[in-house]
Amino acid sequence: MSEIPTSSAGSAAGGMSQYLRNHMRDYGLLFALIAIMFFFQVVTDGTLLKPVNITNLFLQNSYIIIMALGMLIVIVGGNIDLSVGSVMGFIGALSAVMIVNLDVPVAATIPICLLAGGLIGAAQGYWIAYWKIPSFIVTLAGMLVFRGLSLWLLEGQSVGPFPKSFQLLSTGFVPDVFGVGRPNVTALAVGALAALAIVYMGLRKRQRNSAYGIVDEPLLVFIARNAVISGALVFVAYKLSTFRGLPNVLVTMGVLTVIYAFVTEHTTVGRRIYALGGNEKAAKLSGIRTERLTFLTFVNMGVLAALAGLIFAARLNTATPKAGFAVELDVIAAVFIGGASMSGGVGMIVGAVVGAFIMGVMNNGMSIMGIGIDYQQVIKGLVLLAAVIFDVYNKQKQR
């Protein structure tokens, strides 16, 4: 047995390359995103990172990212949800029928729709958790059922437009509280604060880990990583501030991401979900109520799919029977690109979000370049495959 000393007694360079090799997946993902952005920035002659396009990137991908948060949890728990695209479309249709056809106030519609999403998740989760019916089958059924129900609800027509207050959900911007307007000081301040918070929390964690001798990343890597992330945040915030400021969905998305990252990494519930996916039998024998937990992951997914449906409908300003078609595949792809494991127990919220951005940037960049939808699909498919092969390769090398 090789005994590796706890402290970084080895040569700094050796330790660092060793560390990077062991964490290839985590850093590789970030590098991939940066490389892809750089590539498209060059080939689109700088269009990709124009303020208006950055704003669009967020608006276009927000619903994918929001659903990727729930999907990550479902997949970490050892299941999959194929119905989210249909559920999202169905909830969009429900909101349109309620607001436009039935004149239900927006303030009442939103909670009712979220509740409906939760109930849909519960209905599917019930069979999966308590009857042990494979999630693939239950949610495949759900995908067909809710696709059909949205058609029925909309009677095959598009329903819209929505009132202004509902559209704000997606296309609204946070007003500049400092009253400057352009550049939008609020956006700048939020960006700077977020960057500071990330660095501060990173430092605290580092301090604590070193106190307990848990192997940590080398200082240089730590500094570089934080510099890149906080730099990117400030850069994006600056770009946004020169356009219309912070989009509402970005705020929703950002807050949800932070909450879900916290829940998965710092709470007992989060820990139990990883245990459930990692080894269900062992989790059960450790006193974890695995059925209830599985059930809840689907309820959560349903609520997030509903939220995504509302945001999507608000952005298009209409509910169409086609809304959400095949979106589940983009969401699932984002989670797997983000490093989650098909067999459960492995994956991180941040990874899923970065994975979704990789998909989003590629969609956006290729569209700007005028690449046909045919090639776009091929390229996206290959990227997904490459990401997973990279994962498997890394795992084999570690053994």
Binding site: M1, E3, T268, R271, Y274, G278, A282
Partner: protein
Amino acid sequence: MQKILEMRHITKTFPGVKALDDVSLQVAAGEIHALVGENGAGKSTLMKVLSGVHADGSFEGEIHFDGHRTAFSGIGDSESLGIIIIHQELALVPLLSIAENLFLGNERARHGIVDWPETFRQTEALLAKVGLREPPATLVESLGVGKQQLVEIAKALSKDVRLLILDEPTAALSESDSQVLLDLLLELKGQGVTSIIISHKLNEVRRVADTITIIRDGATVSTLDTHRQPVSEELIVRDMVGRDLSQRYPERQRMAGDMLLEVSHWNVWHPEHKTRQIIRDISFHVRAGEVVGIAGLMGAGRTELAMSLFGHSYGQNISGSVSLRGELLDTSTVSAAIGGGLAYVTEDRKELGLILDESIHRNITLANLQGVSSSGVINQAEEARVAESYRKAMNIRTPSVAQRVVNLSGGNQQKVVLSKWLFTTPEVLILDEPTRGIDVGAKFEIYSIINELSAQGKGVIMISSEMPELLGMSDRIYVMNEGGFVGELSASEASQERIMSLIVNDRENG
């Protein structure tokens, strides 16, 4: 007589364990050769070496079959020479017919198209040979275990078997089914088929075997010719278990305190077959500071007993009561059992005990996350501190508690599992095969931990198939057979012979 098989000086080492140590085995053509020994003595490993499951080169020694040196690289090689193993767990496809099973992978076919009339004709001939009167189209699923066993033998015959190896063929059979099977073996012997039979049922062994080889601790102890000398069961048992118990177990102050755990009239039925009773009216108790062993052969129901006690994790229709310090204990869910002061260290640590891809500290705190969290938020500093303290106390050899458990050796993995359960501060620990697959040094450490727990006044229930371990560690031993307790022995009166004879007697009477 001519030797059909000679295995010479076979030594097979697994990481940390010497499973076979210079074993030699000679089988004469046309005989029935019995291989007996305790669980873990190395019988199965020897048969795996013979059949090529452990490929040539992964062990030392030579195998000669029919006078030729063999070098099998897989089970296909040995089968092509006519060496066929029938495992304890039958390898039949339940939803295929008898005929389809018999010729699976060996189909009667021309250019890939199955010749069904021929298949059925041959199946009928083979079934007649083994005395099984069933239509060839019968689904294997609908046959009882005894008949399935006969199908397996017919399958072996279809491959022109020369050496038939049966691993515990009668373990799951009723008395009459066993008789049929043993008669068949004798009949096949008349037709010139040589067989090796692995069995715990010594009366059966004595009835059919021409030669008996006894294996203990990975080495051949003796070979007995039943025609030359009368072989008594006592003689076999003595050779199976007789070994000196030198200082392999740490000294302990034996002291039994107040009554801690009482289980009375515990009954459990099979989770799928409502009518099959797995645990039969078991009552027992554990005092504070006591180490209580449960002995029994594989399939006696020891793990099922433990799992049913621990949150009804096994079986259905469970009845009986559990009380701790005189107060009735709710064990209907795992979390209730843990809360009540029970802990269960599973037999299979990889499948049931650990989350292999997770770190040591995450595994240690899993069963008691409340212990490191407040209002649902985990205090990761506290968690690291807890893990670190167990790393030191249990001497888990790892560079850091952030290490993934999959990278640890078996002994260290077991210490992680123990840490996990100790962190739930249990009153009674059920340890199921706590030293399986662990090297001698780590075993001693685990024993020391067990002694320390008993010194703290905790009750320990130890299930083990290694009898010396049970004898060396326990204050009292319950002997279990076929779902019930068939005897209770104090440390002073317990011996391997007495345990074995309790089991054997029960089998003969039952």
